[in-house]
């Protein structure tokens, strides 16, 4: 059954990608400015040569079908800005870095967020609860660039304990991973707390306790397993966003990931690159949501997508 759900989800992705590709293709061509507009104007013939080279001299509809034709052959086109590189080259270089950073961030967010929220719920109204909620409120309200700047100031410039930026060793990944994890960690902690508090009121928890089950076994087996369902729901889009890369974190720490292209490709009107990263992001989103659905079914066998 699990396999059937996965296959169904992946097949449904094809028309979805076509819609996304069409919308993105049209929208980016409506935005003022083209890929070869620059501070100094190029002579008309030079501009014509460039447009001809990239088929931008053809009608938009023809360009669209040319693009779709190439897409069918897994050819995502070339970058107009980084002229020697294909979109696949760029994604191949940048995506693994974003996966590493986003994966580390996600791990930190879950490993800190879930226990923090659980402890806060179990110690409701105590100093521990207040402290945990203060930390998570900070995480939700502070912008990423402030978190990043604070971490660099404390751990790199004052403390000299960690590198301020760059992507040279696992040590270099600590501050960016903490930065990228901060906000999701706060969400997870708050959601876990609320969810655990709700589950603690359920009859089956009282029954488990009355039957003499130890507190830790009750929490892990009966409370957390049920409380985590909303958290897992959140993890789908959150992990997609984290894995696809963060513009702010990559810029602050000079990390060669994919997140920066979500902004720079648009600024450069780098049409094929915009299309490429949008499609990749869509694929990641569908895959993470499919994984979430599978996790649902494991956590709660009553859930079915048939």
């Amino acid at each position: 059954m699990l396999l059937r759900v996965v296959i169904k989800r992946l097949l449904a992705m094809i028309p979805l990608l076509l819609v996304i590709a069409t919308l993105t293709f049209m929208v980016i061509r409506v935005v003022p400015g083209g890929p070869f507009d620059q501070e100094r104007n190029l002579p008309p013939q030079i501009l014509a040569n460039l447009n001809a080279k990239y088929h931008l001299d053809k009608p938009v509809l023809e360009q669209y079908f040319l693009y779709l034709g190439r897409l069918c052959h897994a050819d995502l086109g070339v970058s107009y800005k980084y002229v020697d590189r294909t979109v696949v080259d760029i994604i191949k270089d940048a995506f693994p870095v974003s996966i590493q950073l986003g994966g580390a961030g996600l791990l930190i967010a879950v490993l800190i967020g879930v226990p923090l929220g659980t402890i806060a719920a179990l110690r409701r109204g105590t100093h521990i609860d207040h402290l945990a909620m203060f930390v998570s409120t900070m995480g939700l309200s502070l912008p990423l660039f402030v978190v990043g700047a604070l971490l660099i100031l404390v751990f790199a410039i004052w403390g000299k304990a960690l590198p301020a930026a760059l992507w040279e060793s696992p040590l270099h990944a600590i501050l960016p991973a903490l930065t990228i994890a901060f906000k999701p960690m706060a969400y997870i902690a708050r959601l876990t707390r609320a969810s655990v508090l709700e589950i603690l009121q359920k009859d089956w928890v009282r029954i488990a306790r009355s039957k003499g089950l130890s507190e830790s076994a009750t929490i892990i087996k009966h409370v957390l397993r049920n409380a985590l369902i909303p958290v897992v729901t959140l993890l789908g889009p959150v992990s997609a966003v984290m894995i696809a890369g963060s513009f702010v974190v990559e810029i602050i720490y000079a990390i060669p990931g994919m997140g920066r292209f979500f902004v720079t490709a648009v600024m450069n009107r780098d049409y094929d690159l915009i299309m490429g990263i949008t499609l990749i992001f869509s694929v990641v989103l569908v895959i993470t949501n499919t994984i979430v659905d599978v996790l649902y079914m494991i956590l709660d066998p009553r859930i079915s997508y048939e």
């Binding site: 040279e168 810029i251 600024m267």
Partner: protein, 517 residues
């Protein structure tokens, strides 16, 4: 995964220079590159027919021998014959010949290449026609290898600035066998073959380029073994890395205006005047700026001396369009600060004390220094003329579209020299220029610029340019020159000999590391 990079390590690594490029070079193909980042890398791995002299401290850049040991200018300036050195080798050991130049120039002008700067060679016989696909045969280009060591270039008419083009990346030689063997990938480190002081060792896209000293460099092996060129876009991050001894040499790309005060305390902080003019272009077709008295009044009412005080990078205030170090510069070609006269002119134009002055916009691209400068101009005009101007900020590509399709009253723009010659500035405002957004079309101005372009007598040329400059800035007030930008550099005590020139190219072939920590 190389090292921890922590500040507790030795502050510098012998033989290794660490710098910040800022961003990824869009390409290392010198026919397709159009930006300063690519040029900076290319200039350090390649060498052309000539190279620029060291032009520090405001000295004029001149062309010196490089691959060409000497050259002759013949037939009234329409024929250049370059005699190449016979001891130049590419990084794969093959000898450089005039054929490598012939191929490179043909590829540059070939429309299939799609080279944005192909028009630099339009003075060469048949170049324009080939680039516009009117002539298909590339061998008809007036640039030929006469033998292995002689390269001849024939021009349609004399062009006084032509020699400067031979020092720029667009005219560098290229290896036909390499370009054809690795189409679209010949600039990757495993494929590229170069002839400059350094060679491309590795290229981690969006992160770092490593250059290594070229043992075969004809100018002698550089003293630096390796250059690590990081791509750190965020200025505050780069500045933090510099402070933590993880970068050895930084410039404007690595500190903000607010960091300048701190940088200036360092004895190793230097500024280099650039050939990069900042100006306000005035729309001469749009009311109220279609009245020359209004344009002059505006030009008279901005005290240019405010810019170095606000921007703090030792900018040079400008009155005329021709920069101080170039041929034809005269201080009095432009309009001097004279708010009293400005008020009179504005009154004569029908706006006494700025009354009833229509809504006037300045279009600009949001950048910290641009915004600061414009706010100062806004205050100056309010104080001196009693008028309010509106600042309209747009995203870069939207700004370019608006500027082209719906030119506003004024634009805040910048012009960086491609080569150190007055023609590169003056041709911006000719009637047929694609970069002239002022609506100014003046036959006399066009005639003067055209005449100066082919004039080989420098004194006569200077006179022609100063006349044109006066016509542009003083008599018609087509633009308000603001200031010449500077490049500020900050380097660690162990860094010596880096040549930063007025074209904003950082040349590392003369650099070395030595001294205390």
């Amino acid at each position: 995964m190389l090292n921890t990079g922590c500040a507790r390590q030795s502050p510098w690594q012998p033989g290794i220079l660490r710098v910040n490029l800022g961003t990824e070079p869009p390409t290392l193909d010198w026919h397709l590159s159009v930006d300063m980042i690519s040029f900076e890398v290319i200039q350090n791995i390649m060498s052309g027919l000539t190279q620029y002299s060291n032009g520090v401290d405001g000295a004029k850049l001149t062309c010196q021998a490089a691959c060409a040991k000497k050259w002759e200018v013949l037939d009234g300036g329409t024929r250049y014959v370059f005699h190449l050195r016979d001891d130049i080798y590419w990084t794969d050991g093959k000898k450089l010949t005039a054929k490598d130049f012939e191929y490179a120039w043909q590829r540059l002008i070939d429309p299939a290449t799609g080279a944005a700067y192909a028009h630099f060679l339009y003075d060469v016989i048949n170049a324009r026609e080939i680039n516009q696909a009117q002539i298909k045969d590339l061998s008809k280009l007036g640039a030929k290898a006469l033998d292995d060591l002689t390269f001849e270039v024939r021009l349609n008419k004399p062009a006084a600035y032509f020699i400067y083009l031979t020092a720029g990346p667009t005219t560098f030689p290229m290896r036909k066998d390499i370009v054809e063997a690795y189409p679209g990938r010949w600039t990757e480190p495993q494929n590229i073959i170069t002839n400059g002081a350094f060679k491309l060792d590795s290229w981690q896209h969006e992160y770092k380029i490593d250059l290594q000293a070229n043992e075969k460099y004809f100018g002698g092996r550089p003293k630096i073994d390796k250059i690590k060129m990081f791509m750190i876009p965020e200025q505050s991050t780069a500045f933090s890395l510099y402070q933590n001894d993880q970068l050895d040499f930084i410039d404007n790309r690595s500190f903000t205006t607010s960091d300048i005060a701190q940088c200036k305390k360092d004895p190793n902080f230097k500024t280099q005047a650039l050939l990069r003019a900042q100006y306000l272009g005035l729309n001469t077709l749009k009311s109220p700026l279609n009245d020359v008295r209004v344009r002059k009044a505006l030009a008279m009412s901005i005290d240019k001396n405010i810019f170095p005080k606000i921007l703090r990078r030792q900018e040079t205030p400008m009155q005329s369009w021709i920069p101080p170090v170039l041929t034809g510069f005269k201080q009095d070609s432009g309009i001097a600060f004279n708010p009293e006269e400005g008020r009179k002119l504005l009154a004569l134009a029908g706006y006494p004390g700025g009354k009833n002055f229509p809504r006037t916009e300045v279009l600009y691209v949001s950048r910290e220094d641009t915004k600061l400068g414009l706010e100062a101009i806004q205050a100056e005009l309010k104080k001196n003329l009693g008028i309010s101007i509106e600042l309209v900020n747009q995203e870069f590509k939207v700004y370019l579209t608006t500027r082209k399709l719906h030119p506003p009253h004024m634009i805040r723009a910048s012009w960086s020299a491609d080569f150190p010659d007055t023609d590169n500035f003056m041709s911006v405002f000719t009637s047929d220029s694609g970069n002239n957004y002022t609506g100014f079309k003046n036959k006399e101005y066009d005639r003067l610029v055209e005449a100066a372009r082919g004039e080989l007598d420098n004194e006569k040329r200077a006179l022609l340019y100063s006349q044109a400059d006066k016509l542009l800035c003083k008599e018609n007030a087509v633009l308000i020159p603001l200031y010449m930008a500077t490049q500020c550099v900050l380097y660690k005590p162990w860094v010596h000999g880096i040549d930063v020139n007025a074209l904003d190219i950082q040349n590392y072939r003369t650099a070395y590391l030595e001294g205390s920590n």
